[in-house]
């Protein structure tokens, strides 16, 4: 599997896929996509990187343990749900506001943070499983 071509191309492929996964995640609310699919794409990206170049570069690149990323995602999703407590509305009610980024109006919402949480949970869990399995393979 670790051919020269694959090894050379893998980092670029992985970066592209991660970028694409973030794109898919953010467009999810209006077009096909979302946190779950985005997470799966990013997880496969890391799996590919791991197969091509070994597990330790992936772990180094991720910096955090994938399971920690997953845990953070769950926390983020739960917090996004809890935020509604401060607005006297039921748990998980979506809250929206508009902010301006570089002069452009951008809709921002708890729903988006929730979706990011889903993304992180999926990326983290599946990556950690894949990496753990690959680690043994490459010893």
């Amino acid at each position: 599997m670790r051919t020269l071509i694959f090894r050379t191309i893998a980092p670029y492929l992985t970066s592209l896929m991660v970028l694409f996964s973030i794109f898919v995640l953010l467009r999810g609310h209006n077009d096909p996509g979302g946190g779950f699919i985005g997470g799966l794409i990013a997880a496969s990206a890391f799996a590919i990187y791991g197969i091509a170049c070994g597990v330790s570069p992936v772990r180094r690149a991720l910096y955090f343990h994938p399971m920690a990323i997953s845990g953070f995602g769950l926390l983020l999703a739960a917090l996004a749900g809890w935020l509604s407590i401060f607005f006297q509305v039921p748990f998980m009610t979506g809250l929206w506001t508009k902010i301006s980024v570089l002069g452009l109006p951008v809709d921002i919402s708890t729903v988006m943070f929730f979706d990011i949480g889903v993304y992180l949970v999926v990326v983290g869990s599946i990556t950690s499983i894949a990496l753990a399995l690959e680690e043994r393979e490459h010893g």
């Binding site: 999810g28 209006n30 096909p32 996509g33 779950f36 995602g73 999703a77 998980m92 979706d115 869990s125």
Partner: protein, 781 residues
Amino acid sequence: MTADGQWMTFLALMLPFAAAAIAPFLTGLFRHNAAWVLAIAPALIFLHFTGFLGSVAGGETISGGYAWIPSLGVDFSWYIDGLSLTFALLISGIGTLIVLYAGGYLKGHEHQGRFFSFILMFMGSMLGLVVADSFLTLFVFWELTSITSFLLIGFDHSREASRRAALQALVVTGLGGLSLLAGLLVISAATGETSMSGLLAAGSALREAPLYMAALLLILGGAFTKSAQFPFHFWLPNAMEAPTPVSAYLHSATMVKAGVYLLMRLNPVLGDTAAWETILPVFGGTTLIVGTLLALRQTDLKLMLAYTTVASLGLLVMLTGFGSEKAVEAAVLYLVAHSMFKGALFMVAGLVDHESGTRDVTKLGGLRAEMPVTFGAAVLAACSMGGLPLFFGFLAKEEIYAALGFADGWTAIFTLVAIIGNGLMFAIGFAVALKPFLGPKVKTPKHAHEGPVLLWLGPVVLGTLGLVSALVSGLSHYFVSSPMSSAVAGETVSVTISTVPHVGLPLVLSVITVALGVAFFMTIGRGRAAMAAVLNAIGWGPDKGFDQVMRGLTRTSYRITGVVQDGKLDHYMTVTFVAVAAALLIPMVLFGELPSMPSIPAMPFYEWVVLLIGVIGLGAVIYARDRLTAIVSLGIQGFAVALLFMLMGAPDLSFTQFMVETLSVVILALVMTRLRLSPTDHRPTREKIGDVVVSGLCGTALGLMLLKVTQVPFNGELSEFFAQNSRVIAHGRNIVNVIIVDFRGTDTLGEIAVVMITGLAILALVRIRAAKPADTATKEG
């Protein structure tokens, strides 16, 4: 009552928990002197509750609370009448002394802060238990006392005996707690009431309910285990493994009285029936005699006291069971007296142990010169326990005999039981209070001298209180005994007994008791030897029985686990899939819900082609010679399905399906290399046939079900709602995503939690294998 007062009471109920939270920090700062600071909490609570004395003595009750779970009609509420107020005062008052005592007793112990924390938590739980109004509040606090008691008994967790005792207490009282819960549920089902105040107001509704007997037995199950009635008494002496402050507080003054409290609380609604007036006196009387006889056998000061506590609890249950006005008064007086003298005696025993290094009564003697203050406190407490005139215990004993009398054969038996029990308790009480101090000096492991003020303050205060409260009996009756008796009896009762002896039958019986007690005291050595011989002859007791039951339980569950969880993955898989097939097929066949033969749908040719690709993929899975090919072929089938989703207009679904298929092929391939499976399938034909049948059944069942689902009329209400509201309410055009993250967001939250937990579990499994040395051999990838 005012909102302010309500707030204050709530604060008082929560204060022990707050104190428990800061106790370890305070102990870190002030060492054992933190006790002085921490004792402020129970002292404040005590003061708060004394504020109610006046109005409660005037016949009022105080109730308050907050809605807890309004949708279920559950409240956090309290109800303070004479009964709960007396208990609250005992808990907070003795609690103050115990905290101080623990400061001296565990001085220098590395976990003293933790101990303070536990005992304050217990105090909060016990306080909540006695003032609880709603059944749920009562039950929650009841269980909390069991749990904190477990923590306290097992405080010295490095010793096996204390771990066993803690577990035993938890199992026995925990089972009782379940019984109580069931009893409370039965009561609320029978009467529709969910609170004590409501139940008491409903009068005899419960007695007349057909479920009365069930409710009674279940409640007794809770009360008898908690209050250590025979044959559940064995956990209490074992609980003496706990440090002495715990024994003094939980296992004599407060927690073990929770069962008695419950019986007293329910006496107006459950009592006054033939069942009540038979079961309670019989069990109580048996416990009284068994407890005193077993106490006689002991030489350890704490164990002697523990068994007399069992006996006293029996006496209380017996009196509550009689239920007459006098009997209730006697129970109330004895309960208050017992809390004071037994608490004091336990603290004395701990003090002697602390100072001399032993608490074996046969190895102690002549300490009166070294420990005069302790000696004084011990004598005061023992006089009250023995029921000598001028002491509170005397009032209780007079009232007991006045209540029992010699009215008929039935009461005569229990009078006899009470006389023998009281006589033995007299002897044991004085044995504990006198033997270590009188006589020639005996050499002890440590050189004994008077303990610090933290240690002797508690017994001295309680011992003196046993005398003072009897001397001003008018006041104590007005504020404590009468309101409490009224609450227990369910009607206004006025206690009048005073320390001035009245010539009559009760006094005669008292004199007989004292004479009997002195006789027992003189011959205690012989009595002990005789009891030891009897017990050795019997050999088996509930304590041993408990061990046998526990062993049987673990062995049975081990065997069941061995059968159900045999550790073979293919067995698990087979069972799971057979169950899936059965669950789908059997109802469909039984209820004649099989789908009708569908017509061939008109699809464009390219859709047929995709379908064909999927079928080819499946065929390849079956005919593949090695496993890797099979895995990849499974992917082909998955991709074909994803393509179909795309063609049918579900891009999100198809997108996800693509990713899932890709990842599962990758992960399956990785797992295969990881598990070092042989590349080809080596199952024997016999096994293969079985697997084919199972998978065939599963596939058929799922297929039939899907067909059936498409054949029933489709309710488009939800789809329409989502289509209409996705843009308007949730600001999103992608309905699938809006459903996932917004409309059904809570579901998703649960799902991602499952994803993460599954991930953790898989990671753990992978790690376990990696830890085996045989697997660490590396392989070139």
